[in-house]
């Protein structure tokens, strides 16, 4: 039955993967307009702390908290994004990295509200709160042959999966729209894009803010899935992790960020049996990756090849013979 297959630990990892995919997309979006932002860990922290504090102190519903977390992160995104327009390349990377560090130091020192480096605990858990509502309607996970615990984690995964599908769908649509083409043009050549009549100020701030909103959203989800956050969760290492998701997977395509986030979340878990060495291996993989495939695992030719081979297979099953006569 379902109850035998489902392991809460695996579900937990799946929910981390899904949150990391949102983070991966958040940096992909800023990169798609040619801006390298390392501040996404900071925006994630803003989203997480906003939502956690609102739900703990004001008993706000979780969904409202998460949305407000994303909104507040987005406001900070606009505030940082506009002055950051003056910078590009490494300068932007260091300035945004600096922004993330400042945010972390504020979380550590603003003890009256954030409880400093101890962190916030007792954040309402997304799955458990939903489970309570389900209970009120008279639903019992036993009807599906599940234990309470399994059901809670399954709920979280399902919600995150739904969110992910919506986000990926939205951003694929956006890439094919006027906005996506403007981003691509700015990435290719900013001056040429401007001379073609693209409002680069608007589109660069838009992509920066979208990244910030997504990171804040992911942070808020993270807070309610972990039920505990501390400033160390949103430090330098997180910023680097997020960057690696996109760079490792391939920064040209949204699928790269998705693949990178999935692979890089599973890798440390898969290497758990040699846990003493796993981060060293992580480092070696990064070095080797840049030496042999610096554009990331998934790039445009690979995707084309993949689509072509998929089509060929389909062609065979439908019979190539008929095509010859057409």
């Amino acid at each position: 039955m379902l109850g035998d297959i489902i392991n809460p630990y695996h579900l937990q990892i799946v929910s981390f993967i899904l949150i990391n995919i949102i983070l991966g997309i958040s940096i992909y979006i800023t990169l798609s307009s040619g801006q390298l932002s390392l501040g996404n860990a900071g925006f994630m922290g803003i989203g997480a702390y906003t939502s956690a504090l609102l739900t703990i102190n004001f008993d706000l519903p979780i969904f409202l908290g998460i949305i407000l977390g994303a909104v507040v992160a987005g406001v900070f995104g606009i505030l940082i994004g506009i002055p950051a327009l003056r910078l590009s390349g490494v300068y932007l990377a260091i300035a945004t990295l600096g922004f993330g560090e400042v945010i972390r130091v504020i979380f550590v020192n603003w003890e009256s509200i954030t409880q400093g480096s101890i962190g916030l605990s007792g954040i309402p858990h997304l799955g458990r709160e939903l489970f309570k509502t389900f209970k009120l309607t008279g639903f019992d996970p036993d009807m599906l042959g599940l234990k309470n615990n399994q059901f809670i984690y399954l709920l979280v995964v399902l919600i995150l999966l739904l969110v992910n599908i919506l986000l990926v769908w939205f951003f694929i649509r956006q890439n094919k729209s006027r906005v996506g083409r403007a981003f691509a043009a700015i990435k290719m050549d900013e001056k040429a894009a401007e001379s073609m009549g693209i409002n680069i100020t608007y589109y660069k701030v838009l992509s920066f803010t979208q990244g910030a909103i997504l990171a804040g959203f992911a942070g808020a989800l993270y807070a309610h899935v972990m039920a505990y956050i501390s400033p160390a969760d949103f430090a330098y290492h997180r910023a680097i992790d997020i960057l690696i998701f996109s760079i490792f997977g391939g920064s040209e395509l949204i699928w790269g960020a998705i693949f990178g986030a999935t692979f890089m979340t599973i890798l440390p878990e898969a290497l758990r049996f040699i846990s003493d060495y796993r981060y060293m291996i992580y480092g070696v993989i990064l070095i080797a990756m840049m030496a042999f495939r610096p554009q990331g695992i998934i790039d445009v030719p690979l995707l084309k090849w993949f689509k072509k081979s998929l089509k060929l297979k389909r062609g065979v099953s439908h019979g190539i013979g008929t095509k010859k006569y057409n």
Binding site: L36, P83, R86, L87, S88, G89, V90, Y91, A93, I94, A95, L97, G98, F99, E101, V102, V105, I106, V108, N109, Y236, I240, L243, I244, I247, S251, D276, Y277, Y279, M280, Y282, G283, V284, I285, L286, I287, M289, M290, A291, P294, Q295
Partner: protein
């Protein structure tokens, strides 16, 4: 009191300056940010601990050993993580950044594995020697750190401006292709630059060990981030800017600890660079060109 704080600030600042010099040399020549520099610095500090506290050998041997090890690390960094990416088609400017991040993750966890997570004391014979000048106390260590730093800076400046190798380095920094057309062995110059930068990091590691008497695997990260802040402050690739920026940051941090909220000490560097980047992207000492910050 104020004078003592200024002395502390200058001591800290001269160490920062040496770390930043390593960053700025590599950025000046290669145009990349070496994220592994902080970790090479940390390895240098650990070599110092190993030689002085564990083996009980004198300090000058620690300096030689740290320089030796970091030179090897620098060579390997250039050979393994940087050279394969150079001149390759379709490599984005982010690739060297990522691969040096890979090296930094590797080194941090390696030393975490070998030395453990805790603080290691750095014992040396003259930690407690101090002078009383009027009402202020000066430690011999502080003088030593300051003298070593200044000597390094002077030697480096001389080397860069007067010797043939230094000229080759500056030519390579100006334009790699033109320099190689004019007969500069750019491959060797780049390797030399990365090696010198790493050796500077190793020396700075021992100086920090001497100054704070504690060494841990995480110190590379915070020092690396501050080094980045300093080269922004002083202007990317600008040697004199790195020295001045380092001293400024050291003084500013000491003053914040002494007269402000010590919790915000680590934020000083970044709040400053955010403002610097927005008001004067070329850095305080940078040349005013349209391309600065781009």
């Amino acid at each position: 009191m104020l004078l003592e704080q200024i002395i502390n600030g200058i001591t800290l600042g001269s160490i920062y300056a040496i770390v930043a010099l390593g960053f700025t040399l590599v950025f000046g020549v290669l145009g990349i940010i070496n994220m592994a520099h902080g970790e090479i610095f940390m390895i240098g500090a650990f070599i110092g601990v190993l030689i002085t506290s564990v083996l009980g050998l004198p300090l000058w041997i620690a300096f030689i050993a740290a320089i030796g090890v970091t030179v090897i690390l620098g060579y390997m960094l250039e050979r393994i993580a940087l050279r394969p990416l150079r001149g390759k088609q379709g490599v984005s400017h982010l690739a060297p950044l990522i691969s040096t991040i890979g090296v930094s993750i590797l080194l941090e966890n390696l030393s975490h594995h070998i030395f453990g997570a805790g603080n290691h004391p750095f014992r040396h014979s003259f930690a407690q020697i101090q002078f009383q000048v009027g009402s202020i106390t000066i430690y011999l260590v502080q003088i030593l750190i300051f003298v070593i730093s200044i000597t390094l800076m002077v030697v480096l400046s001389y080397w860069l401006s007067k010797t043939k190798a230094g000229k080759a380095l500056r030519a390579t920094a100006e334009n790699l292709e033109t320099a190689s057309l004019l007969g500069v062995n750019t491959k060797r110059t780049i390797t030399t630059t990365v090696i010198i930068a790493s050796a500077l990091g190793g020396i700075a590691g021992i100086l920090v060990g001497m100054a704070f008497n504690s060494v841990n695997p995480q110190m590379g990260l915070s020092m690396g981030l501050k080094g980045l802040a300093i080269i922004i402050l002083g202007g990317m690739g600008n040697v004199k800017g790195a020295m001045a920026g380092g001293l400024l940051l050291g003084l500013a941090e000491t003053m914040i600890v002494a007269y402000g909220d010590s919790g915000y000490r680590d934020a000083v560097a970044f709040i400053t660079i955010i403002f610097i980047l927005l008001l004067r992207p070329q850095g305080i000492f940078g040349k005013n060109t349209a391309e600065a910050g781009r």
